[in-house]
Subunit: 265 residues, 2 copies
Amino acid sequence: MDRNSSIGVFDSGIGGLTVMKEIAALMPDESLVYLGDTARVPYGTRSADTVKRYSFECARFLIQHNIKLLVIACNTASAVSLEDIRSSLDIPVIGVIEPGARAAVRSAANRRVGVIGTEATINSGAYVKAIKAIDSSVEVDGFACPLFVPLVEEGLTEGDIPYLAAKKYLGAMSEKGIDALVLGCTHYPLLKSVIAEVLPDVTLIDSAVETARAVKESLQADSMLNSGESQRQVRYFVTDSPERFVAVGERFLGKKIIDISKVEL
Amino acid sequence: MDRNSSIGVFDSGIGGLTVMKEIAALMPDESLVYLGDTARVPYGTRSADTVKRYSFECARFLIQHNIKLLVIACNTASAVSLEDIRSSLDIPVIGVIEPGARAAVRSAANRRVGVIGTEATINSGAYVKAIKAIDSSVEVDGFACPLFVPLVEEGLTEGDIPYLAAKKYLGAMSEKGIDALVLGCTHYPLLKSVIAEVLPDVTLIDSAVETARAVKESLQADSMLNSGESQRQVRYFVTDSPERFVAVGERFLGKKIIDISKVEL
């Protein structure tokens, strides 16, 4: 393992591709290996023990690919297993919650932050905990938006239906005087323009962008950024239905998915 | 086991409650026991072998409750495991596909039937096969409506958002000249009024209603309808999250869910 090794990224399914996209945009020389545990998605409805076991299996798979840094691009897995995985590996491990929480605190001049995510993420309180750990004076309102993931997976990211759904979920938020809203689900960056229409005066925090920045900072600090001399490789692995992953995933990535294989963990 | 034993109903989750509701409405004297395999929902994305194994575990659990008839109130489980379960049990076993298919053929004067369901149900071709087996001259158009389940689980069954979603999915169907549309997913009866607005001239086939009728016919034929003399019992079992099952399920059922327990299969 050296500076030209790959960055490993895993998610319970397809959503982590928004993180993958931002990492590739920010660090175009890096080789990447992505694992989507599509056979066992969603993690959000499983018990913490089960999510930990699945997360460790994903991490172990990526470690076998000789990665230099691991990204847990899944909110549930980040909330439940980041600490355990971090302490069991000797490479840097970055989740999606901390970077979003840090950016939210930075952007919230009035100390009021909103967080949206799946029911599981909001109920876990992981963002509230992460934000309060950085600055306990910040008030945090969490709100679940269960329709957003199916809308994004259906490709319905603009037009009447997503706009009305965003209005239904976020209409009340505009009266709460929040400065910043964390898009606390890897699917939500695809709804950014619709959300901005409903909340024009609120800074939207894209966890995918913030996570990519955290990855770059970590590699930079360790002098582990790719030297740019070797041939870049991007590989995808899924545990079920590569066809569906490619069909839906290319919308997330804005790029073709070429090198993809189905694996068992 | 006798005529005053319970009817057993299982589903991968919550949707089968629409079938439960129609059975209770049609046969108010019957005792009922419902199992929702909420820890392993959805079945639609799992392999056929896995769905068969889960279905047998559900059936076995209900058999231990001394049931006189088993209803597989799940489209995926009906498509994949009805025949195997039927041949392994000595009580009648009724799925949700055959009754809907029969009613559709009866209602389709112009021999054109539409079927809507989840991606898994539509891709399985189970309704096409069942309808063609009854009358091979009927033309069948299947169409997946992936947003309908999350809309129903969110309680969004009327208003702009479900109407626009129904129009998006079914708008093109109105030009195909279908006579009857099978609501081939146990969640969809809750969207009946919105679907009827989009397709006012089409007969909507409610699989839940048709399945309840098939249950009554079977019990009648076997002289196994409840005598009406014993105290009626309605019990619910789930494999995870009874709270969520109660919160969402009461909308499906239009009634309180009282006697509920979490079990392991």
